[in-house]
Structures are given as C-alpha cells and as structure tokens.
C-alpha cells in the first residue's frame, strides 16, 4: 500500500509519437533470384500512428479496439519483438510478455528443462528460476511428470506449465493478452485470479482484451485504438462506454442490403436477415423459451434451372467474438424455380443460446462454392426464459424447419 502511494507519480511507461508501418508486400519473397532482378516493394501500410500516452507505475492499462486496429502490433512493439517505425517508448523496469505461453518449449526436453529455458527466454536468470521452481510446479500441477519430455504431456498439462512459468516472472511491467486465460474452466479462473494478483502487487500491467467485463474488473485505465490511431484514453468505464457505443453504432449504420464488405462470387446476395416472432413482427431480442423464425431475403442470378445446390449457413458469435453455434441447411437446399428474390425461413422451437448479445454471420454456398458472405449481418440479444434449464438439458441439436418461399 505504502509502495503504491510512494511511487504513484513515477511513470512506468511513456509513449511518444509511436507509429509502425509494415511493407505491403508482407513477407519477402523466398526466391532469391526474383529479388535480385526486381526492386523490393516500397509500398507500406500504417498499422499504428501517432500514439502518445503514459502510464503511472503500478497501474493497469486495458487496450481495446476492433480486430485489426493495431492492438497486437502495439504489444509486439512493447515486447520488443518488432521495432517501431516512428517515435519512442520509455520503460522503467523489466518487461515480460505473458502473451505467448509455451514459446520456446521443446518437445524433447523434460518439463524441468523447459521451465529453465522458458524462464531464461522471458528474462529470468537461472537462480531466479530455481527459487521459483517449486511455486511454478505447484501452480501448474504437473509435479509427477516434471522429468518427462513435454511431448508426452497432455495439451492441458503443457499449457498449464507454460502459464505457470509466465505467471511467476519477476518483471515490473507485464504485457498480457487475453487469450492467455487457457485450459479448463477451473484453470482459467486461476489465471484470472493470478492476473488480478499481479495488478495488485504494484506491477504495471498492459492488458489487451475483447472482454470488456474483464477490463472493467482489472484495469484502472483504458486505451482505445481504432485503425491504428489513439481514439481515447482515460478511466476504464468511460472508455468502455464510448467503445461499446461505437461498436453498436457501426453495426447499425448500414442495412444488410447496403453492405459492400462481402466475399464470394456474388451469384446470390443476402438482402435482409431478420428474427421474426410468432406474430410476424421483427424482433431485436429473443427469449430462450419461445419459438421464433429466422428469415433471409436473398436476391441473385441463380435459380433451380441452373441445377445448382444451395446451402445456407448461419454462424453465431457471442459478444466476445467466440463461436457459439451454427444453423446449416445442409446440401441441396432447393433454389426457387425462377430467378429473382426469394426468402429462406427457419423455424426454431426455442433458442439454444445462453442469455447475452450475439452476432450472426451469413454464408450462401452454391455447389459448395461461396456465393456470398456477410460478417455480422445480424445482431440480437437473448434473454433467459422460464424453462431455460430444461431445454438446455435436452441437448444442443435442435430440429429446424427450413423452407424456401418465392417473394
């Protein structure tokens, strides 16, 4: 406690004008001769630009931003994996990345040897690893297998040992990526507890996360970056609120028909994707205990005359962008007899998802080839109904009525 107040004014991290460009060609050609005769591409794209912020010692900073906003690039620069193209970072203290567990593990070496190797890779010397070995082993729970090659470990054991090493690092600044919470549920809880303990032990922590709840729980401050630029920095609640509002706004700005960020041949195009209640009204949220329908309006050039097989797929993701389930029409879903708009409807007796917010990505396939794909075509909420428990127990497979209707 004393330490935290004493040190409160010293900055652990100072970032000035930080930017990073990547060459657009991506990786260099593997062909020596091609490169001899052609000038390397000089075009580049900017992954990060103009970042300016600082963080006091002992604080935890959460980093948010949509996919591809530059979060990982920022962590890579902090961990010195890659060099910035512009600007400077000053760090007071040793930096340890917790973002990649098990890096440097060699399958042929014993667990013990790997602990030493991994420890030294993360900046601990032999003595420091030795002092912590018992703790590390106890935390991982692989005592009995410590002298066996890790190739004989189960994947769970492997990950637990790797996390245990990383979690017992001695560094003043920790870099954490949320994917870190690995393994079974009990171990995940253990990981989260450990992260909480880390941030309370006076260490400075940088945490990248998609899970706003975790950020709110663990972080004093949050940094929001969007398209490589610093959007906002401040108290976690304020940033989280602004970020959430931005996300919702983005998704609701365009209707499905207006979306241009599609992939696929374009032979068919999704025009609308809606949830419909029994009374025929469009729904924003569904209850776990009530039947509902999903309706897709599709337009395009394909019809039954093409003798092509249609397949419709909907994949569902929760607010943490985790895949939670899919609806699939299977092969040979009938196309309408003539060209022109038609709709596909599915009727579900109840919603097999837990309460929460979800996104659906729609895919239309013709003869197995993608014709159209719209990411996050639909956002909806699920609310817990009265008999949520009973039907969840009945299993995750639900019979769905699919039908195609000419519009």
């Amino acid at each position: 406690m004393d330490r935290r107040t004493l040190m409160a004014n010293r900055n652990a991290i100072e970032v000035k004008g930080l930017g990073k460009d990547y060459p657009k060609a991506g990786r260099r050609s593997d062909f020596f001769f091609k490169e001899l005769f052609r000038r390397p591409e000089t075009e580049s794209f900017t992954a990060l630009d103009g970042l300016d912020f600082s963080l006091e010692e002992g604080k935890t900073l959460g980093i948010v931003g949509s996919n591809g906003s530059g979060k990982s690039t920022l962590l890579k620069i902090f961990s010195r994996v890659t060099l910035p193209s512009r600007g400077q970072i000053r760090l007071n203290g040793r930096v340890a990345p917790l973002l990649e567990v098990g890096t440097g593990f060699h399958p042929d070496l014993s667990g013990r040897d790997n602990v030493y190797l991994n420890g030294s890779l993360l900046g601990m010397n032999r003595r420091e690893v030795q002092e912590r070995l018992d703790e590390i082993v106890a935390f991982s729970g692989v005592e009995d297998f410590l002298d066996q090659p890790v190739k004989n470990y189960s994947s769970g054991m492997y990950v637990r040992l790797a996390f245990a090493v990383a979690a017992h690092l001695r560094a003043e600044i920790m870099l954490v990526d949320e994917v870190l919470a690995v393994g079974d549920l009990a171990f995940q809880q253990k990981c989260l507890k450990k992260m909480e303990a880390l941030s309370q032990s006076g260490r400075t922590v940088l945490l990248v996360s998609h899970q706003l709840e975790n950020l709110l729980k663990l972080c004093d401050q949050a940094l929001w970056i969007e398209k490589g630029r610093q959007q906002m920095i401040g108290p976690t609640e304020e940033v989280a609120t602004a970020y959430r509002r931005h996300m919702l706004h983005q998704a609701s700005e365009q209707t499905v028909a207006e979306r241009t960020d599609r992939r696929g041949s374009g032979a068919l195009r999704l025009q609308e994707l809606d949830l419909i209640g029994l009374d025929g009204k469009t729904l924003d949220s569904i209850r776990t205990d009530e039947p509902f329908r999903l309706r897709m309006k599709i337009d395009g050039e394909a019809s039954a005359e093409d003798r092509a097989a249609l397949r419709v797929q909907l994949n569902f993701y929760d607010q943490n962008e985790r895949f939670t389930g899919s609806l699939d029409s299977g092969q040979d879903f009938p196309l309408p007899p003539e060209k022109g708009p038609f709709s596909v409807q599915m009727e579900l007796p109840c919603c097999p998802l837990y309460a929460g917010s979800y996104w659906a990505t729609a895919r239309l396939l013709l003869d197995g080839r993608p014709a159209d794909r719209v990411e996050s075509a639909l956002r909806f909420d699920v609310e817990t109904g009265k008999d949520a428990w009973t039907h969840r127990k009945s299993g995750m497979r639900h019979s769905v009525q699919w039908k195609s209707v000419k519009e």
Partner: protein, 279 residues
C-alpha cells in the same frame, strides 16, 4: 520486493544498433546457456551412447578418411602418420562445417519464437559456436594425444592457442553470414551442402596442398588460400608437428577470415530486423 535497480529500456524507432553488443547480450547470458544446453540435450540426450558420440565421431571419420584417401596419397616422405594428418585437418574442418551448416537453418527454426518474444538475435549464431566447442576440444585433445603417442608432436605445440583466433574469426564470420542469409533466402539451405562439399576438396584436410600446388602457378596457390580453412589447417599443422612449413600465403587466409567476421556481423545486423516484420 525489488532487490536490484530496475532496468530502463528505451525503444526507439531510430535505434539501428546491432544485437552483437555486449550490452544487449549480457542480460541474456542465461538464455544463451539454455540454448546451448538445449541443443546438446536434444542431440545427445536421446541417444544410448550420449556424449560418447563426441569422441566416437572424430574416430569414425578419421578411420573412414584414412581408408579412402590413405590409398591415394603417397606416404613415402610424410612427416606424420596419415590418420594423424587427417585428424588434425578434420578437427578444424568439422567445427567450421557443422557450425555453418547448422546456422543455415537457424533463423527459420527460431522464427516462430522471435515473433513472440524478444531476445538479442546474436545469441543464436553464438550458441552454435559455443555448442560445438566441446566437440572441437575433444577432437583437439585426441589429436594431441595421438601426436604425443606417435612422437610427432613438436615443441611448438605449446603455442597452439595461437591458432584459435584465426579459426574462431573465420567460423564466426561464416556462421554470421549463413544465418543472416538463411533467414531471408531459403535457397541457401539447398545450396549450402554443395558449397561445403566443394570446400572440403579445396581444403587440405585429407591431402597436403603440396600435392596440388606443384601443378599450380603462384596466383593459383594464393587463390587456394583465400579459403581461410586452408590457412587454418596449415597453421595448425605447422604449430603442432615438425616437418610442415608455413608460407606467407596464410596471411591471405587471415585477411579473408577477418573480412568475413566483420562483414558477417554487419550483414546479420542489417537482416535481423526483417525476421520479425511479418504480421
């Protein structure tokens, strides 16, 4: 909680310094040791004979080369027994060729790791050099013992450490070059084995250069010594045994070795930042 003053790290876009610096390597000395130990454990840990292989390998090669080349090379006026001749040449050669061959694959092998965690890349080629030193020392010891037993050892043998800097500079240079190029051009992996085969025949490992030299003009002989291995082996035999002479051409070898070491370290420094640039 803190027992030592915390490190201050500055990450700057304009920092173009090489990782071949004592300042950068020193905090990672333990990692360097871990890499070396790991290589040994992976190489010998799962064999039945384990580290005994370090002794067996020179024995086997010396016998093989003696069997094959011993018949071709005239023995009439040889100052030392042929197996000793081969062993004394092969010792430096194998240190050079194993280190260089292994370093070709070094960067691809560690690329996944270096895209996740920072460490000074220079410790990779250094770990190869250090990792092969015990084998080199064992072969050296065997050469000395054999030389002493067969009575061929010269009094100059006491000054044999003089030869180490030349060999180390040379091997460091090639290791730096091969690992630097192996990181960006996978073609090197295909090319390297042939290069070493050719170099083997162009080095006085299994036959004395005198044999070849009598057919060559002076510039041809100088050309042969542009291969630093030639100079290394000549110097080593001259220091160890009586009956070998040292020509000033060896200086060419030393010059090339030095050039390789300096340019290799620079090439490595220029390449190393590219290895982690992938998204």
């Amino acid at each position: 909680m803190k027992t030592e003053p915390s490190a201050h790290i500055v990450i700057d876009a304009n920092d173009h310094s090489s990782s071949f610096s004592w300042q950068k390597i020193r905090p990672y000395a333990d990692l360097l040791r871990s890499f070396v130990l790991r290589d040994w454990k992976v190489r010998f840990g799962q064999t039945r004979l384990g580290f005994l292989w370090m002794i067996l390998q020179p024995l086997i090669t010396a016998s093989l080369l003696t069997l094959v080349f011993g018949l071709l090379v005239q023995r009439g006026n040889a100052p030392i027994p042929y197996p000793l001749f081969v062993l004394s040449g092969w010792m430096g050669w194998t240190f050079f060729s194993s280190a260089s061959l292994q370093s070709v694959q070094l960067i691809p092998q560690y690329q996944a790791m270096m895209r996740k965690v920072y460490f000074p890349k220079a410790i990779l080629p250094l770990s190869k050099l250090i990792g092969l030193l015990p084998e080199f020392c064992i072969a050296l010891l065997m050469t000395l013992i054999y030389g002493a037993v067969s009575g061929s050892l010269s009094i100059r043998a006491l000054s044999v450490p003089l030869f180490f800097p030349l060999l180390l500079f040379f091997v460091f240079g090639t290791v730096a070059w091969f690992s630097a190029l192996g990181g960006g051009y996978r073609d090197i992996q295909q090319l390297a084995p042939y290069t070493f085969q050719m170099l083997f025949f162009l080095s006085p490992v299994a036959y004395p250069f005198g044999l070849l030299g009598q057919y060559l003009p002076e510039w041809g002989k100088v050309l042969l010594y542009l291969n630093p291995m030639a100079g290394c082996i000549d110097l080593f035999r001259y220091l160890l045994f009586d009956g070998f002479e040292l020509h000033s051409r060896v200086l060419w070898s030393a010059a090339v070795a030095l050039l390789l070491a300096v340019s290799g370290a620079r090439k490595f420094a220029r390449e190393e930042r590219k290895w982690t640039e992938g998204l």
